[in-house]
Structures are given as C-alpha cells and as structure tokens.
C-alpha cells in the first residue's frame, strides 16, 4: 500500500455567508480608502531630510541603534536619559562638570568617548562611538539633537 493520505473536504463550494461577508468587507474597505485619502505621512523615524552638513543625522542615529536605548522617539527609557533638550546642556549628574568645562562641544565629546576630557566618566552602557563614527557624523547627530524640543 502506498501511503498517500490526502485531506478530504466536506464541501467544495464557498458558503454563501462567507462570500457575502467577503464582498461586504472588501466594498467597505474600498469606500474607506476612497474617503480617507487626505493627509500626509510624517518622516520615517531616523530618516528625515539630510542635516546641514550633508550627512543624514537621523540615518546615523538609526544605524547606530541610538533608539534601542534612548527610545523610539529619543525621549529616553528605563535608565537611559532623554536626548531631547541637549541644547540646554547635559541632564545626567555625571556630565554636569563636562558640560561646564565644554559648553559648546560636551555632547560631541561624550558621544565620541575617546577624548581625555571624558576619560574616567561612567558611561553606563553608552558605546564609544568615536570608534565607529567620524567626527563629522557625530557633529551632524549633535546638530540634529539640538533641534529637538
């Protein structure tokens, strides 16, 4: 005996209620689509227009996975601080001195993590981006962060 165990069907036709339901929902979907065409998409997270320096800051942010720690909208999550408000100076306690010593480029120094000015500071899981991003890329990111409310 050759083993061939097909699964039979009680009926081959489509029940009338299933056809009616499908037709009604497809028509409803078409009507909904036709009556809801007004609107505009927001920029995709991490991919808006290029920053002034010609580098796409949010593209860099996405590639560097900043949102994995700082949240999808960079407003912070768990122990990771919000990146909104970088323009007002550092929020974290351990960065206050750095902010005071380097008011213009403290964020660049902190993100890069390679300058002696940040040596010894507890990075709390923050990667040393100076090893993977160029100074221009970090500057583009900081410029973008400063535009956040």
């Amino acid at each position: 005996m050759t083993v061939h165990t097909p699964i039979e069907s009680r009926t081959r036709g489509v029940p009338a209620w299933a056809l009616a339901l499908s037709g009604a929902m497809l028509v409803a979907g078409a009507v909904f689509f036709a009556t809801n065409l007004g609107g505009q998409n927001p920029p995709i997270i991490g991919e808006p227009s290029p920053s002034e320096g010609g580098l796409n800051a949010q593209g860099i942010i996405r590639a560097a996975a900043c949102q994995a720690c700082h949240g999808p909208d960079l407003e912070g999550q768990a122990a990771f601080p919000s990146l909104h408000g970088v323009k007002d100076g550092p929020v974290s306690e351990n960065l206050q001195q750095l902010g005071a010593d380097h008011p213009d480029d403290w964020a660049n120094l902190w993100i890069a993590g390679t300058d002696p000015a940040v040596a010894g500071l507890d990075r709390g899981g923050m990667p040393v981006f100076g090893e993977t991003l160029s100074a221009d890329e970090i500057a583009a990111v900081v410029d973008y962060l400063k535009t956040l409310p």
Binding site: M1, R10, T11, G13, S22, C69
Partner: protein, 491 residues
C-alpha cells in the same frame, strides 16, 4: 547453512555500509529542521529574557569586551542594541524559520503522497541554514561587522549562506510539488508555496539592498517593508498552512470547506502582499500609497476570520478530543491568537489608533502575539504531531506538552498585552506632553510584566525541548508509515 559468526574470516565479513555525509532518508530534512527549531526556541527565549533585562537594568547587564586582532581591535558588545537584534533574529530566523521549513518538509510529502525530491539537498539546506545562522547571531554582538536595520544585520557572507540554504530548500520543495501527480494540491501547499517563495525573494532583496547603495530614506523604507512582509507572508503563511494540516489530522475529520479555504488563501495572498506597504511612512511616499497598506492591514482580519471559522467547523463533532492534551489543544490556542492578532492589527490600522500608538511599544506587542502566539503555538501543534512520526517513537502527549501549552499560551498573552497596554500608556503620555522620566517610569512596570511573559514562554520552550529529548531517549520504538513506501502491517 548456519554460520558461526565467531569463525568468520575477514573476507567473509559483510561489506561495511557507507553512510552519506548528509543523510537522505525520508524525513531527515524535516527532523533536522524541527530539532534545530526546538533548540533555537530555547535559545531565542533565553535571549528574550536578556532582552527584557536590558530594558529594565541596562547598566547592570551591559558588557563590552575588547580583543586585539591582526587587523585592529574587535569589540564584543552585550548592549541593549545587540541583544535586541539577537532576540529578534534568533526568534524569526532560528525558531520560526527552522520550524516553518520543518513544517514544509514534513507536510508536503505527506499531502502529495510522494517522497521529497532530493531529501539530501533539503537536509543540506538545514545544515547550511543553521551553521549560517549561528555565525550570524555571533556576529551581531561584534558591532564592527554588523550593518543594516532590523532583521538585515548579518554580514554579507552569512547572508549569502542563508540565501543558499533557502535556494536549496526551494529546489527540493518545488521539484517535489511539480513532480507530484493528481489534482489541485491541498490548501496547505498553496500557503507553503507562497510563503517559501516570498521568504526567499525577500531575503534575496534584503541581502542585495546594501549593495545597491540606496539613499538612507530608501534603505529605511525597504527595511520597514521587509520586516513586515516577513511577518505577513512568511510567518503567517507557513503557520496557516500548518494549522490547515494539523487540525484535520488531529480530529480525523475532513476539512469543512475547501472552497472557503481557497477564498481565504486568495484574500490572504492579496492583502498580506499589500499590508507591508503601510510601513512606508515617510514624507517622500504619497499618503494614498501608505493608505493602501493600512486598508489591506485592516482587511487582513477577513481571511483570518475565514480560516478560524473553517477550522472550527472542521473540529465540529470531535470537540471532546480538545479535552485531551496534544495537537488539537495547541492548534486551538493558535487559532485564538490568530483571531486576536488579526483584530489588533485591524484596530492598529485605524487612523485614530495609529495617531495614538505610533512609535510606541504597541506594534511590538502585536508582533509578539503573531510570533509567540499564533506561529509558535501552530508549530508546537505540528511538533506534537510530527516528532513521534519522525523519530519513530510511541509517545503520547503528557504533562510536559500540557505544561508547554499553558506556559506558552499565558506567556505570549502576558508579553503581548504588556507591550500593547504599554504602547497605549506611552501614547497617552506623549499626547499629554509628559516628561521623559515619567514615561520611562511608567513603562518600567509594563516591561516588568513583559519579562514575566517572556519567562513563561521560555518555560514552554524548555518543556518542548525536554519532551523531545525524553521521547527520543525513553520512548519505545514504533513503526510509522514512510511516505511513498509500503506501509507496515496494520496502517
């Protein structure tokens, strides 16, 4: 004449059996994929626990190790970013990928009544797939060699190996299908064909995309489309095909309506192909295009409802079988998740809801419903049905299967709901203009519940792995019919 084996001379000994390097016996490919799937299930949920832990206590769990090499310094990073990638890749490619391919190679020959063409090639694809995946998963923790967005992070050589494995799997599947005689194949095969072709096509595009040097916006949009299409076409397609197989088998009933099944398949094919367009959210994409995807995502509830109704009608008259632990219970829970996921996807596609939960944990919660709920329970149902037949063991579902079922059910529900509720809370706080600290504090508790849910799913994985181990080592051998060969007496 009787021969005394002790008096055999060397040249009287029977020739040694030469075993092929890649086993090619019937069922080898399905066994390889399904056993690997169970191991990956355990691994993925373990990484999942770390993923939740990283969200709760990132400072405590983060770790970075530097290793000098000839070409510079390699860094091994255990950070929220790398662990998040590790979890999703292990879940989607490790557990769901292996289980899906295992389902295809187990079910297809049985429905077509023929042996798998080139079983050895299919088995080889399992070997290449899993070795490649292991290398890719390891590479994820070395940031210097990783590129791309979610689910497309693997280095190019790894992507190439995985793509090769998929092409080998396609070769075996399509040649088996095209070589089979008979009328139209059963609906499961239709789902498998689309799912496998879509998976291979998407993975190929995902591998080639970085070589095309797309602009950043284009790359991000392609990545968003890829992740969603993988869910709607591959994961859900192969899970639906599996449910269409295991429920009639577990009940012994014929399918309620093949016409309704084909109608649902057609609707699923069209809508699941369009739904990922909803992820193309950017100023560069016309709103009408994105809206096509939103409407399709909303309408996906229709084929899901037809599938659930068809399969519940199939069980009709055999409901008492659902009281016993085993395949049917797993499948019923999977159907529950299928209905819930479709409803949540539909609700999430509504404009007002999108406005509230966009960029929150909502989408991840619904995705956990689909991955850890619908697909995981469907594949556990298949595992319960398939392993005794593949390992040829007399094994009936017992306490461990029951523990896996309820832990998996509760875990997936708790984890998904925690993120869905967290997403609603997050969205509400954003609208109120709450400060980041308050949002983080609120989300902490939802993530704690998420951890409990993922922990329960990890227990389910441990139960499933232990069940297979005990089945293989402790259960007596049993004869099952081999597809395409003469059945043992009594079958």
């Amino acid at each position: 004449m009787a021969v005394n084996p002790k008096k055999l001379r060397p040249y009287d000994q029977p020739p040694r059996v030469r075993r092929p390097i890649v086993p090619a016996d019937p069922g080898n490919a399905a066994t390889a994929y399904l056993v690997a799937a169970v191991v990956w299930f355990l691994l993925a949920t373990g990484i999942g626990l770390l993923w939740v832990g990283m969200q709760l206590f990132p400072d405590v769990l983060s770790l970075s190790l530097a290793m000098p090499t000839l070409s510079g310094e390699l860094t091994f990073d255990l950070s929220p970013a790398t662990v998040t990638s590790g979890f999703w890749n292990a879940l989607v490619y490790g557990w769901l990928g292996n289980a899906g391919l295992g389902a295809i190679f187990f079910i297809t020959p049985r429905l077509l009544g023929v042996r798998l063409v080139d079983e050895g090639i299919a088995t080889l694809s399992a070997v290449v797939w899993n070795i490649g995946l292991l290398a890719g998963l390891t590479a994820l923790y070395v940031p210097q060699v990783v590129a791309g967005g979610a689910l497309t992070e693997f280095p190019l050589p790894v992507d190439g190996a995985l793509l090769l494995a998929l092409l080998l799997a396609n070769d075996s599947f399509w040649r088996t299908l095209l070589g089979a005689r008979g009328g139209l194949p059963y609906v499961s095969i239709w789902y498998f064909g689309v799912a496998l072709a879509a998976f291979t096509g998407l993975y190929g595009l995902g591998t080639l995309a970085p070589l095309l040097n797309l602009p950043d916006v284009g790359a991000a949009l392609a990545n968003a489309f890829y992740g969603r299409a993988l869910e709607t076409l591959w994961v859900s397609g192969v899970a639906l095909g599996t449910l269409y197989y295991v429920i009639p088998r577990a009940t012994g009933n014929p399918l309620y309506s093949s016409g309704m099944a084909m109608l649902a398949w057609l609707l699923w094919l069209g809508l699941a192909s369009l739904a990922p367009i909803a992820r193309l959210v950017d100023t560069s994409v016309p709103f009408a295009v994105t809206q096509v995807g939103n409407v399709a995502a909303f309408l996906l509830v229709l084929p899901a409802f037809l599938v659930v109704a068809n399969l519940l009608q199939t069980i009709h008259g055999r409901w008492t079988r659902a009281l016993a632990p085993g395949t049917l219970q797993f499948a019923l829970v999977a159907l529950t998740f299928l209905a819930a996921t479709a409803l949540l996807e539909g609700i999430g596609a509504l404009g007002s809801v999108r406005a509230l939960v966009a960029r929150t944990e909502w989408a991840v919660g619904v995705q956990l419903f689909a991955f850890l709920g619908t697909a995981t329970l469907a594949f556990l149902a298949l595992a319960d049905h398939a392993f005794p037949r593949l390992l040829r063991r007399d094994w009936s579902s017992g306490m461990l299967a029951e523990a896996s079922l309820w832990a998996g059910f509760a875990g997936a529900a708790v984890a998904g709901l925690a993120l869905i509720a967290g997403g609603i809370a997050h969205g509400s706080l954003l609208i109120q203009g709450a400060p980041g600290d308050e949002i983080s504090g609120t989300l902490f508790w939802f993530r704690l519940v998420l951890g409990a849910g993922v922990g329960l799913v990890a227990l389910a994985a441990a139960g499933a792995a232990l069940n297979v181990f005990l089945m293989y080592t402790g259960a007596p051998r049993a004869e099952y019919a081999v597809v395409g060969e003469t059945a043992p007496a009594g079958q």
